[in-house]
């Protein structure tokens, strides 16, 4: 050993620099991408394809795209013609909502953010008061959007675009979780009548396509209702979507309930907790945590399935998109329209997905090994 070797107390040795050739960017490339002839070839082929795909995408969306102009004739760069989005932007956002009333959906959206944040994050100050607001928000939103009592009445036929998609998606999500929990508990109930009802409901709804339910809600329901009784088309679609996703939600949650060991039920029973107490305090917090990925999966599915309402004549994002594509002025601009709609959906769904990951990590209390 060399004479210069210095003695250190255990754990006190300063970090040595990594050996040369095994650190830094060049070493990383060498090790990961060019470690053998075969890998080098694969790397080059991959780079070639990536270059072609990415450059085509960038050309179409950005460098070759037209952002300013008046008519389709201005789009002569070879890429996307985003003018159609700008021209119909308000429709994409609000549908046929009266132009002078746009402040109402805008205000509703801001209030929605205020209402959702305390539900999603439990570490904000004064959460209790904010949650109270979250609880009354649906009524405020309904009043703001539909009007009456001093505000101009806006028929739900005029709601559309992102506004309608959000109304459908958020209502469906908010309604399907509690209904799903009740159905899941009912399906595991000891009471035969409750159990049979829940099983029948879940199996019937799951056995039927959403589009059928929506058609039934919009076209068949009025036939069964007494003369003169008619409720809103949007409300019918909302109920259809909520019931549909709650059936799926029930099965997701039932999976979580089945994953809870019998000992947890017995522990709760032995301490004298009632059925509802043990469900609320012991079983459901654990069961829901286990199935967060499944719950969010159902939410995302539901949010995207709301596009089916365009088939029963509601102008959600897809409905507005169909109108835009059919416009003579912007003929042939379907890719742009659908790309824009896809982007809007992706933002919402990706946010939900990231939130669920964050939540899973936060709720992890070290009991999973």
């Amino acid at each position: 050993m060399s004479v210069t070797e210095q003695q250190y107390a255990p754990g006190e040795h300063p970090d040595l620099p990594p050996p040369l050739g095994e650190a830094g960017l060049i070493a990383w490339f060498k090790k990961r991408l060019f470690s053998s002839v075969g890998n080098t070839i694969l790397t080059l082929v991959a780079v070639f394809f990536l270059y072609h795909v990415l450059s085509a995408i960038i050309f179409w969306t950005l460098t070759g795209a037209t952002f300013t102009g008046e008519t389709k004739a201005d789009c002569d760069l070879g890429g996307a013609c985003w003018l159609v989005i700008g021209d119909r932007f308000h429709q994409f956002m609000y549908g046929l909502y009266p132009t002078d009333q746009y402040w109402r959906p805008n205000l509703t959206f801001i209030l929605m953010v205020v209402a959702i944040v305390p539900v999603l994050f439990d570490n904000i100050p004064h959460r209790g008061k904010f949650l109270l607001f979250s609880a009354i928000f649906p009524f405020i939103a309904f009043y703001l959007l539909s009007g009456g009592w001093g505000l101009e009445t806006v028929d739900t036929d005029e709601w559309g675009g992102l506004l309608l998609t959000l109304v459908l998606g958020v209502t469906g999500i908010v309604a399907s979780l509690p209904i799903g929990i009740v159905l899941a508990l009912g399906r595991r109930s000891n009471m035969p009548i409750v159990r049979t009802l829940c099983v029948c409901f879940i199996e019937f709804i799951r056995g039927v396509p959403l589009i059928t339910i929506l058609f039934m809600a919009s076209n068949m329901l009025p036939l069964f209702l007494p003369e003169g009784v008619n409720f809103d088309k949007l409300l019918r679609a909302l109920i259809g979507v909520a019931l549909f996703s709650s059936a799926y939600m029930a099965e997701v949650i039932r999976g979580g309930l089945q994953a809870i060991p019998k000992g947890q039920y017995e522990g709760a029973d032995a301490m004298g907790l009632s059925y509802w107490q043990s469900m609320r305090l012991i079983i459901l917090p654990q069961a829901l945590r286990i199935v967060i990925p499944g719950i969010v999966n159902t939410f995302i599915g539901l949010y995207k399935d709301t596009t089916l309402v365009s088939i029963i004549g509601l102008f959600d994002l897809i409905g507005i998109g169909l109108v835009a594509v059919a416009d003579v002025k912007w003929r042939g601009l379907a890719p742009e329209t659908y790309a824009f709609i896809a982007l809007l959906f992706f933002i919402s769904c990706f946010a939900m997905s990231r939130y669920s990951l964050w939540l899973e990590n936060k709720l992890h209390t070290g009991h999973k090994r």
């Binding site: 522990g267 029973d269 032995a270 301490m271 004298g272 009632s274 107490q277 012991i282 945590r289 209390t365």
Partner: protein, 257 residues
């Protein structure tokens, strides 16, 4: 026996638990056959026997985790029937510790202990926390109060489970093989806690194979086999002078090691 001196019985004449002609079946299988048992208040009973002998089922019947089909069970002068009110009343008075602890993994140690006092006894949160800390100190883990069960060792978890039951201020404690899932060095810490508990005069029914514990604290040892109580006696007599052949065989097997 030298350690017989530690056996300071707090047994009284008052009856805490009464089982008269209790039968239970799992389908065709007859688990409990005509069980008759009287437990005095303050009495410490150890139940042993080979696996499948019905000893766990027996004590699980006492707080209705299992339902018996025939006979009477009277706990604290309350008869155990299908009546939910009676079941709840009994569960409030009877604490139970399980083989696998059954702590609630999503709640901290302190929350595990305060949950039932707050929700079942309607105790203010602050008072419940004070009581919980008192019992966590008694089982010697007050410093773990903020942790989650998954971060504790098995022995610590079982001691939390004991503290959790004590927070409800039960008059009777049931133990269902509390040390069977633990490593040897952790068994000692849990048994010490149970011995301390026994010294306070708690009525205890304990399914265990810890014969040292039985000798030290039990007022009575019950041997079960095939769903029947084969033999019961004071520990001294039970271990030194077992009457039935099956008891002798069982004792020779478990004491051989």
């Amino acid at each position: 026996m030298s350690n017989a001196s530690t056996n300071t019985s707090k047994k009284t004449d008052e009856v805490a638990i009464q089982l008269n002609g209790v039968h239970k079946w799992y389908g065709q299988f007859h688990v409990l056959k005509n069980i008759n048992l009287n437990v005095q208040r303050g009495e410490r009973i150890v139940i042993c026997g080979p696996s499948g002998s019905g000893k766990s089922t027996l004590i699980r019947c006492i707080n209705r985790l299992e339902e018996h089909q025939q006979g009477d069970i009277i706990v604290d002068n309350i008869e155990l029937t299908g009546n939910l009110k009676n079941i709840d009343a009994i569960r409030r008075e009877v604490g139970m510790c399980f083989q696998h602890f059954n702590l609630f993994p999503h709640l901290s140690v302190l929350e595990n202990c305060t949950l039932a006092p707050i929700w079942v006894r309607k105790m203010p949160k602050k008072e419940a926390e004070e009581i919980a800390m008192h019992y966590l100190e008694r089982v010697k883990i007050p410093d773990q109060a903020a942790k989650f069960p998954g971060q504790l060792s098995g022995g610590q978890q079982q001691r939390v489970a004991i503290a959790r039951s004590l927070c409800m201020n039960p008059r009777i404690m049931l133990f269902d093989e509390p040390t069977s899932a633990l490593d040897p060095e952790m068994i000692a810490e849990v048994l010490d806690t149970m011995i301390e508990l026994a010294e306070t005069g708690m009525t205890m029914l304990c399914v265990t194979h810890e014969m040292g514990f039985a000798r030290k604290v039990a007022d009575r040892v019950i041997f079960m086999d095939g769903g029947e109580i084969i033999e019961q006696n004071e520990p001294e007599e039970f271990f030194n002078n077992p009457q039935s052949e099956r008891t002798q065989k069982f004792l020779s097997q478990i004491l051989a090691h």
